[in-house]
Amino acid sequence: MNIVVCVKQTADTAAAVTVENGKVSWGDVPMILNPWDEYAVEEALRIKEAHGGKVTALSLGPENATDALKLTLAMGCDEGILVSDPAFAGADSLVVSKIIAAVIDKIGDVDLVCFGRGSVDSDTGVTGSQVARRMGWPVLNLVSEITDLDPDGKTLSVERMLDESRQRVRASMPIVLSVVKEINEPRYPSFMGIRKASKAEIPLWSKDDVGLDEVPQSAVSWPEIFAPPKIETEVEMIEGDTPEQKAVKLADRLLEEKVI
């Protein structure tokens, strides 16, 4: 199995994100591997452990964004590739999918591409689908379990989380999957893994390395980014001598204020 797992480096979700003059800042929290992607990395590693093969972690970002890739190597990925070029700045999902599809093409003979369900920063959750479409491959998003995988017959069966129910689907490979956190429990990197990762060189692929002569124009742009209006609430603490009194008073207040 030749597996590619696509990851993104993001700010820690504990960050109190602020914005000033259109520039986003998340204080001094560390940059981390996008939490959703940990599950994608773990699933890719489990498939490799069960069926053999290779796992390549792939990330698109600024040229210093190697921490997330180092973590994937420490977890056990065989190789990391950072795709980075000043020409990629401001790329929307349409362009990002084109770049990633070109990289996967270049890697060659890929059976399976794993994504997390989205990134916790831009939160669009569409990149995996768009990469698949560019490759002409099927995509199954929100996979909560791979129930069966036949590396020789190049088929797999999954269960995926729709809003109302789980859908069971059989599909042929190559394929793109996005996974949800229910699928597994990501491992912690081993001491040996961390040592190996700290020494690893992460190759940087520019647009020329990717084989894109020209970076297409993004279709969408985001002219404004701003803090949401502050929610002005004055909390009304419900007092009473006993929990019952408080509960009854709350019920009355909710009805008085027509909340219910």
Binding site: A14, A15, V17, V19, P35, W36, D92, S93, L94, S97, V120, D121, T124, G125, V126, S129, Q130, P138, V139, L140, N141, L142, M161, L162, D163, E164, S165, R166, Q167, R168, V169, R170, A171, S172, E182, S218, A219, V220, S221, W222, P223, E224, I225, F226, A227, P228, T233, V235, E236, M237, I238, P243, E244, K246, A247, V248, L250, A251, L254, I260
Partner: protein, 345 residues
């Protein structure tokens, strides 16, 4: 003249996803600015009821793709049909669901155009839609525009827009789509059990539990559970029973914090927050949830928040309209009872 606004109607097992109707309302509003009518697109098999419903909610035309190959939602098949139908649209709207996030992304590639997911508000900038969407799980908002490519593809977040009134007298012109789907790389085998009760993202009221639901030391777990972790889960399940009872009285959905899900108290499907579902109900009751920043990110736009927590300093009280300092095990049963009486149940 062909209509400029297309709305994709998402449905599952014969039921229209409510946000599809909200999308129809947005489509009608947009048509007032950019002109033309509104076309709905319904794909599936045996979908006459859904087609009719789309008509009652004020579309001028419904494109109906009724075919065995479309019986189950499959991204590749649906995208091919939809991309052909909506190729000349100016705006293509979707409700936001797991299916449509995938589908909209595929169609955007087919039509080499921009996609703006999770839209919560919009205005017009000339003839382009300037859409507002949350990023960093709602900690920030961006305004996003697809200035040149068409159609502009937007998925609209559930409950961000009003559902229009139905008019049973109104009916739309039905246009049959010739569906010709060849072999597909995917095959739907079946479905698991449907989620019981109200879906979190559509719910008008949500009652959520956090780590605090297991915090009732006076509860004795049954003798046959000796493992400490399992005892904790058992206690938590008793706590979630109280939450479920309150939810039942209010016809509400049950939510949970990440802490409760990670501790295996309740399924991941119920998780609200940055790494779960982002919700925006009229009323959000948080019981035993302290209010970690990741949780607040997933529910802060709720209209009214009620917090019940033992810790008077819990951050959740800062967002709350009403607060009770107290143990959820003591407060929820009388609250459920009081509401049941007052609502005549």
């Amino acid at each position: 003249m062909a209509n400029k606004i297309f709305v994709y109607i998402d449905h599952f097992e014969g039921r229209v996803v409510p946000a599809s109707l909200e999308a129809l309302g947005v489509g009608r509003e947009m048509a007032k600015t950019i002109g033309g009518g509104v076309s709905a697109v319904v794909l599936g098999q045996n979908i006459d009821d859904i087609v009719q419903q789309a008509g009652e909610y004020g579309t001028d035309e419904v494109h109906k793709g009724d075919d065995t190959a479309l019986k189950d939602y499959r991204g590749e098949a649906y995208a091919s049909v939809l991309s052909a139908v909506a190729a000349d649209a100016d705006v293509l709207l979707f409700p936001t669901t797991g299916r449509t996030r995938e589908l909209a992304g595929l169609v955007a590639v087919d039509l080499e155009t921009g996609i703006i997911p999770d839209v919560i508000d919009y205005e017009f900038d000339g003839s382009s839609v300037l859409a507002t969407r949350p990023v960093y799980a709602g900690k920030l908002l961006t305004k996003v525009v697809c200035a040149e490519s068409r159609p502009q593809i937007l998925t609209l977040r559930s409950r961000a827009f009003f559902k229009p009134e139905a008019d049973s007298g109104h009916s739309a012109e039905i246009v049959d789509i010739g569906v010709d789907i060849g072999d597909m790389a995917t095959e739907v085998i079946g479905y698991g059990e449907s989620q019981a009760g109200v879906s979190l993202t559509d719910a008008a009221i949500i009652v959520s539990g956090g780590r605090g639901v297991s915090n009732n030391a006076s509860l004795e777990s049954p003798a046959d559970i000796s493992d400490e972790a399992e005892q904790e889960i058992w206690r938590a399940q008793q706590g979630f029973k109280l939450i479920q009872e309150l939810a039942d009285v209010l016809s509400a959905a049950v939510g949970a914090s990440r802490a409760a899900v990670d501790a295996n108290y309740i399924a991941y499907d119920n998780q609200v927050g940055q790494t779960g579902k982002v919700v925006s109900p009229d009323l959000y009751i948080a019981a035993g949830i302290s209010g970690a920043i990741q949780h607040l990110a997933g529910m802060r736009t709720s209209k009214t928040i009620v917090a019940i927590n033992k810790d008077a300093d819990a951050p959740i009280f800062k967002l709350a309209r009403f607060g009770i300092v107290g143990d959820l095990f003591d407060v929820l049963p009388p609250l459920t009872q009081a509401l049941r009486e007052r609502m005549g149940l």
